[in-house]
Symmetry: C2
Subunit: 392 residues, 2 copies
């Protein structure tokens, strides 16, 4: 296939695959798409190790890295680097009542306490200060794309990437966000609809992609949200995108490191079993509806804290729950396509099926219009017909 | 164009247009699509008059009628026909606190009280008992389609329609609802995503259409929700639909009887200005976010009543507000495509633009795959490529 996205990134298929798992990233890039590693959960040292591994397993094919530099978050004005005690200063904003709520929730579900203090990753890459070292690590590798979520990245980060010859993608859930990203030099807009997993807005992909594509033209747009099979890929591109940005579909692949308890929930869920919740990070993110999300919606919930405090608050809880693998007390980000994820497949098969169904879809649309000489003439015929009868 | 939907209904273009306005219905049918009149707000006598007018203005082209026979509503067990005092018996379920809330809300916004008792349409067609006479009126006309919203219609109503040679369409927001409708004999499923205006579920069109199309195959599916332009029509059909079901886009046409105050709000709104609210009918419906919807979300809101009590509760309020044309105190059902409705156009132009952009979209997708001999081969190539490298 050839679109402006395949040409810009030198890839065969306009399929971008977001994953926190290096095996998925490498496998998608090898299959002709572009894997994009989510850096969020890695320290700079860990990220260095993951990217070195990916370099050795993509056969020179392009891959990308995704960081999170929220345009707005609590503590953004503190201006402290990660080493300057930013964690401790932010932690002071977390009310005791919130800590008690989480502790009681886990106790009610019989989740054992931690036996030793183990809070090294408390803040993760949720802030400018913690994400910048990840960007530096990423630009030290032959990456083909730097992506950023949750708002326009700092202009100097975009400049750093461009100076290294790396295009920058920004994920946007509204026209306003897309325009802001273009203003700081972002090259590609990922227009992500509300049906997507993880952080997402409230406008659906069907509506969002055309309006963002028009607003940022001629910049290329990728369609995200609700895309896990070929018909959805064709729909996303019909809406005006030059390619598709996918995520949830890779959670149910053989290469993914999705924890068994989470995978079982994903395979069993229907498209109606997700909810947009602030309970993981403080910003609305789509995830499976379960005991965790319900507890935060309950009457005795103190309500989620703003980013990055909410994730700091729940970091220990996540570690405690993770150790026992409690199936319904873990935030499990996934999009509405979860209803179609019923079987674990190799990454190469997912890519094959995406493209085969895309091809079938295009054949079906062409067959429907085979009697009309060109698509343009369909419209002219309709216009004339309406005009004739309006005048008659 | 030729799809199973155009063949089933004998129409030129697979565009179904829901509207409460007879002029829109007739204009769409004349332009080659199929107008579908929403019967809800009409008494049987009024509906008779509207359909007689449409018969005289479609030049023999097919049109449809849409009724609302909710599968579940308060009072369904009363079993009373409309004339047996059903209204009065239902009205007894409305708490005084709810009436006071509405009265105080209107007073706060300076809306004058009604000067005389004028509650003739209090119940409307929201129940089996009030919708059946509408069905009888509709089947007395040469309609090409009977559509039903809010769940599976009674099986005997489907049989009545079939005996008259009229196919039945059912609007579904989930696979479960679609299957139930097929069980009672519904012929065509309208898979309506959450981005649609009016009553709607929470699954987006991108996800809902393919899963319903697979679940009810070989029954034809129409895509609804988020469809107001040609790219969206192409996307809906790419998802597996045989045509598209549209609604909001016709509100901003010259033929529509949209009240001026409501039209001004629609033309000004962005795609982020809608909300799913129970404040109009008791079931979630997408409408513009305004003083009305915000009041029902507020801390002193008593919460919406179940269908049909909520609409009975607010019927007088709607009439009061309607008389003064209060721009932000009227529930205004519309989908997320409202952001793209910025100018009033003739119906024929909307149809022309839908088809012209559909044609352009198909040309663009074909150009992207021009280097691949057939769509199928794209997939095979990707599969082989992935296979080779997985083995290498």
């Amino acid at each position: 296939m050839r679109t402006r996205a395949t040409e810009m990134f030198g890839i065969e298929l306009p399929i971008f695959a977001f994953s926190h798992c290096r095996d998925v990233v490498a496998a998608v890039s090898r299959a002709g798409g572009m894997g994009v590693l989510g850096a969020l959960y890695f320290t700079p040292e860990e990220l260095e190790r993951e990217l070195t591994w990916i370099d050795a397993h993509t056969g020179g094919r392009p891959y990308g890295v995704d960081v999170v530099m929220p345009a707005a978050y609590t503590g953004a004005d503190l201006g402290a680097a990660d080493g300057d005690g930013l964690r401790e200063r932010l932690a002071a904003f977390i009310p005791d009542g919130h800590r008690h709520f989480v502790d009681e929730l886990l106790a009610r579900h019989g989740v054992p306490e931690l036996t030793h203090d183990d809070t090294a990753h408390l803040l993760l890459g949720w802030t400018d200060a913690t994400a910048r070292p990840q960007v530096e690590v990423a630009l030290g590798h032959p990456i083909g794309l730097l992506a950023n979520a949750l708002g326009a990245p700092p202009a100097d980060v975009v400049e750093r990437a461009h100076a290294s010859g790396v295009p920058v993608a920004g994920i946007a859930g509204s026209v306003r966000h897309a325009r802001k990203q273009r203003e700081v030099g972002v090259d590609v807009i990922v227009a992500q609809g509300t049906e997507a997993g993880g952080h997402t807005g409230d406008v659906a992909t069907m509506v969002l992609v055309p309006e963002i594509a028009d607003a940022v033209a001629p910049a290329p747009v990728l369609a995200a949200g609700g895309i896990g099979r070929g018909r959805q890929m064709a729909a996303g591109m019909a809406l005006g995108a030059e390619g598709v940005w996918t995520g949830s579909v890779w959670l149910a692949t053989e290469e993914a490191d999705t924890p068994p308890a989470a995978l079982a929930q994903i395979l069993a869920a229907t498209s109606r079993d997700t909810v947009r919740s602030r309970s993981m990070t403080g910003k609305p993110a789509r995830m499976l509806r379960n005991d965790w999300t319900e507890a935060w919606e309950g009457e005795d919930s103190p309500g989620p804290l703003p980013m990055p405090l909410q994730f700091m608050l729940i970091a220990d809880a996540l570690r405690r729950v993770g150790r026992v693998g409690h199936p319904t007390l873990t935030p499990s980000p996934v999009g509405q396509i979860v209803g179609g994820l019923n079987r674990v497949k190799p990454v190469s098969q997912v890519v094959y099926e995406l493209m085969a169904e895309f091809g079938d879809t295009l054949e079906r649309l062409n067959a429907a219009t085979a009697d009309d000489r060109t698509g343009r003439q369909i419209g002219e015929s309709a216009g004339e017909s309406a005009g004739r009868q309006g005048a008659g």
